[in-house]
Symmetry: C2
Subunit: 303 residues, 2 copies
């Protein structure tokens, strides 16, 4: 069994202001967080595009984590740039600028080897591109997909076509409500099951995550931190760890596997939010991860 996972999404340079400070032009983008996180559980191959300003040094965190960069296209021009700021609650980022640059014409074309991918994580990109990737992948045994309010508002029909073809959908509370028109998250989740997806995972920010599926529903708390440094990439980390973990399993399609994947997503996100960019996430040891997973299960044990 292969434990490869194809991660398709954005690589960006982020400029961020929050209560803890500010950084300029640091590595970001959903595919960056997701593939680096997935690398602790599986063999990720990243499909993304960067500009000619993306240096060898920018590739270092990926290479150190063994992320396959054959699918990282380099195009003449600048890499996607995003700037945002957070209030002290970190609940919502206020976007200050979005310069799509080479990402504007991102059109992932998979190599014959990538078309054989058994596990796919479609990070938050245009649902038409997600569909295009899905059509190229021959026989995936696991497809997970993230999205955002922008696509729900502007490309709902395409997104619904994606949802029909995937196993796992990640979205946050606001997005679940926006997409379904239903306030109650369990009801919203069930509506999405009716659209053809098997597992709906609602990300609850500082309150963890919720699962809605025909096999069961669950709400799991976060790994709690006293100091949050920056929440950028937390959701992408969650999705990447979740999908990477499942990709490593012989039988991912069980309630037990999905709950463990949620736990891993929650715990891995706790590392990402301890620094700007992937600084903390990219330098973990298996021991760091195991310690938090153990603390997490101890927290939820009543014996």
């Amino acid at each position: 069994m292969s434990n490869e996972v194809l991660v398709v999404g954005s690589v960006a340079f982020d400029t961020i202001d929050n209560a803890n400070g500010s950084v300029k032009h640091v590595l970001g983008g959903a595919a960056s967080y997701a593939s680096i996180c997935a690398s602790y559980f599986a063999q990720p191959a990243m499909v993304a595009v960067v500009g000619t300003d993306f240096t060898e040094a920018d590739r270092t965190p990926f290479i150190k984590r063994g992320v396959d960069l054959n699918g990282l296209e380099v195009k003449e021009g600048k890499t996607f740039n995003w700037g945002g700021s957070y209030d002290k609650d970190f609940n919502t980022a206020v976007t200050k600028f979005t310069e799509l640059n080479v990402f504007q014409n991102f059109n992932p074309v998979l190599t014959p080897q990538q078309q054989q991918a058994k596990a796919v994580f479609l990070a938050n990109i245009d649902p038409d591109l997600q569909l295009s990737v899905l059509k190229q992948v021959k026989k995936p045994r696991l497809v997970a997909c993230d999205t955002m309010n922008y696509w729900i508002s502007s490309k709902k029909e395409s997104l619904l076509k994606v949802i029909k073809r995937i196993d796992i959908l990640f979205l946050n509370e606001t997005e679940a409500r926006l997409l379904t028109g239903e306030y109650n998250l369990i009801k919203a989740g069930k509506m999405l099951l009716g659209k053809g997806v098997k597992y709906v995972i609602i990300k609850l920010g500082s309150n963890g995550s919720m699962l809605v599926s025909k096999k069961g529903i669950a709400q799991l708390p976060p790994y709690i931190l006293e100091h949050v440094h920056d929440t950028t990439g937390a959701g992408d980390t969650f999705g990447g760890g979740f999908t990477g973990y499942l990709a490593s399993l012989k039988n991912w399609d069980t309630l037990k596997s999905i709950k463990r994947a949620m736990m891993i997503g929650n715990v891995m996100a706790s590392f990402t939010i301890e620094s700007f960019s992937v600084d903390r996430l990219a330098g973990l040891t298996q021991r760091d991860i195991n310690r938090r997973l153990k603390e997490y299960t101890t927290m939820l044990s009543f014996n």
Copy 2:
């Protein structure tokens, strides 16, 4: 060992509007929810005041649950009346009217037997009254206390005196931030530990509850429900079940006991929010409770 628990607080008639309908003049009040809930785990005695409009029928749910009503004073006049409405999210009640009536001059005087109480739950009332009760109770082995934003704003000094004398403080997110001026809930909880309380329990509404203590921190999810009928009394139920359960233990002062009490608070609150008033809460069987407790621990098990 006695498993008695003294519950001091309000008994009221509630008039409520929400997305599921409306009710007029139904049994409510923090002490009602708390004592009825505590009755499933311990022997509650309620100290409260009602008017001459409080009928025998109004006493029925208490009597059926074995709540000791010797401390229920009847005063000439009307019972406390509260009216409120909820938006579809149930997150905040909008108060439409508050008629304190006989509750305005509530001044709990404990009988010699009540002064011997080993466990006390001070529901949300004026902190000066909470202090007065604390001075009357001789040697409690467990004192838990709830409060609200109104008292934090208007009687902070008295509330801090209460906090110095109790074991367990319940408050919600907004209140924790208001009381400490600190946004991060772990930091806010630790500041309150510094004020002399042993366990800080932050109620997170539909996201469960959080514990901050020197023995450990934890966040536990709610027992999740697809249909929420009315959230009035959920926090009082949580506190009553929490305290009642601990009152039944020989050694309540351990992390394990506190976490189990949180689980019980979360699960018991799930019953309260399935109906208006105490309709659902007052009619439970041990089997109903055990089933949800088992579902809850199964949800949080990863094996």
